[in-house]
């Protein structure tokens, strides 16, 4: 049990997807201007990454590995994850309109995001079991969400500041992201991560 908790903790803090593995930088910079959109995006990422981990595990271990086709994992994962997200979007729209309205516009944005593919590939590479894969996917997504929400909060405050002209906008965002990444280095070796 504590092993599972450590797995999640390591994915959230120590091996944070954005700040440590540098995956998913595109939405990290793109949707971090406002806290409300950052929260919506985080919710969608948690949803998709957990689901993607759960679906890709049986595909790899029950289909690709026995047939000796492990080298096809990337192309198959992209195909399946993209389809899955589209399908889930349709189901949500029909049956859970509230959730669709909250996550709807973010779901298509992250269908083929590198963080989503990254978590599937990392699960395979580290030979995680099914439950471990799902928890790792969940933890990694929560870590992504944490980084995104922290960053959005800082950027909202920075909007009010008065930086030198040459630092305004993206330059300042990139500097801030770097500092945030440095701060997360403090968690290194806290948990022996995967």
């Amino acid at each position: 049990m504590s092993g599972y908790l450590l797995l999640i903790l390591s994915a959230v803090l120590v091996n944070n997807f954005v700040l440590n593995r540098f995956l998913g930088i595109c939405p990290f910079l793109g949707v971090s201007k406002r806290l409300s959109t950052a929260l919506g995006m985080s919710g969608a990422v948690v949803f998709v990454m957990t689901l993607a981990s759960a679906v890709t595990w049986p595909l790899y271990h029950l289909l690709l590995k026995p047939l000796g086709l492990a080298y096809l994992q990337t192309i198959l994962f992209i195909l399946v994850i993209a389809t899955l997200v589209q399908f889930v979007e349709l189901v949500l729209r029909k049956h859970v309109p509230i959730l669709y309205r909250a996550l709807g516009i973010f779901l298509p944005l992250i269908t083929t995001n590198c963080a989503v593919l990254g978590v599937a590939v990392l699960n395979v590479k580290n030979n995680l079991g099914f439950l471990q894969s799902v928890l790792h996917g969940f933890g990694a997504a929560v870590g992504f969400g944490l980084a995104l929400v922290l960053f959005a909060g800082i950027r909202e405050k920075l909007d009010r500041a008065n930086p030198p002209k040459c630092f305004e906008g993206t330059a300042l965002a990139l500097v801030t992201a770097g500092l945030l990444s440095l701060a997360f280095m403090g968690f290194a070796n806290l948990v022996k991560g995967i």
């Binding site: 389809t83 189901v91 009010r160």
Partner: protein
């Protein structure tokens, strides 16, 4: 089976299965959406200003069709588009009078007096809390542009002069700036009116005169001049109620020159971008 064939079958099969799943899902999970929603969304201005009280133009269009929201909530909407929306919904359109925002303060850095130099956050709310900003007048424009930041069409300029000025030709009357101003200086007024009173200071004349060269000192000359038609006193401040157009002669009557003609009111000049040396 050769590795080549198995690879082709696995990827091909997975692709076909995914395609079949999506095709079936699209057929059975199809959600009927009223075509009028899209038509109305296209007719609305698309500024997503939120002035109607909904999250954006698409949200408002959905509210019109599904919840029967009034069709004339959109102030920036052109009259022709409004008529078309009303025709689509089968209701009669009552066009709304075009409203534009105006900042009821004319005390820029030259005309108003300063008590301190404010170097804090460039934000009106922050400045208001920090001893009321730098100006002596506690009810004048702070000039840090909270209104300009929320304006969806960039109609407000505020730089240099510590005074926000609305460009009435650009303003779409969404009212976001009205809510953003911590001192409640901005008001939506009918676009047809030319003469405006630009002061919100409710202090006595003696106090106002010490703070600003163009502040209302409650002499009531303007109220007497128009016989109470269109201007009334609220404490020590004359307030225009925009029921009748005001005469241009008020510009000369007011000893403090609080009245201005809007077409003569120039937005503050934007500073030239300084080239990097």
């Amino acid at each position: 089976m050769s590795p080549f064939l198995s690879a082709v079958f696995v990827i091909g099969g997975a692709g076909a299965a995914c395609a079949a799943l999506l095709a079936v899902a699209a057929r059975f999970l199809h959600v009927f959406e009223d075509p009028r929603v899209e038509a109305i969304t296209n007719l609305l201005p698309g500024a997503n200003c939120g002035g109607c009280g909904y999250a954006g133009c698409a949200d408002y269009a959905r509210a019109i069709v599904e919840k029967g929201a009034p069709v004339n909530l959109c102030r920036p909407c052109a009259a022709a588009a409004l008529a078309e929306i009303a025709r689509l919904m089968g209701v009669e359109a009552k066009p709304v009078e075009k409203m534009v925002a105006i900042v009821r303060c004319n005390g820029d850095a030259v005309r108003s007096r300063r008590a301190a130099l404010y170097h804090g956050l460039a934000d009106c709310v922050a400045a208001d809390f920090t001893g009321g900003g730098g100006k002596v007048c506690r009810e004048g424009c702070l000039g840090y542009g909270n209104c300009a930041r929320v304006c969806p069409v960039g109609a407000i300029t505020f730089q240099e002069s510590l005074l926000a000025v609305v460009n009435p030709e650009r303003c779409i009357g969404c009212g976001l700036c009205v809510k953003a101003c911590p001192r409640h200086l901005i008001r939506l007024v009918p676009a047809g009116h030319e003469i405006h009173l630009l002061c919100s200071n409710r202090e006595r004349g003696l106090v106002t005169r010490k703070a600003c060269n163009v502040g209302c000192i409650a002499c009531q000359k303007c109220v007497k001049h128009v016989n109470g038609q269109g201007i009334h006193m609220e404490g020590h401040l004359a307030v225009v109620d925009y029921t009748t157009p005001l005469p241009e002669s008020l510009l000369e009557i007011c000893p403090q020159h609080c009245f201005v003609k809007r077409s003569l009111l120039k937005p503050a000049p934007q500073p030239e971008p300084t080239p990097l040396s």
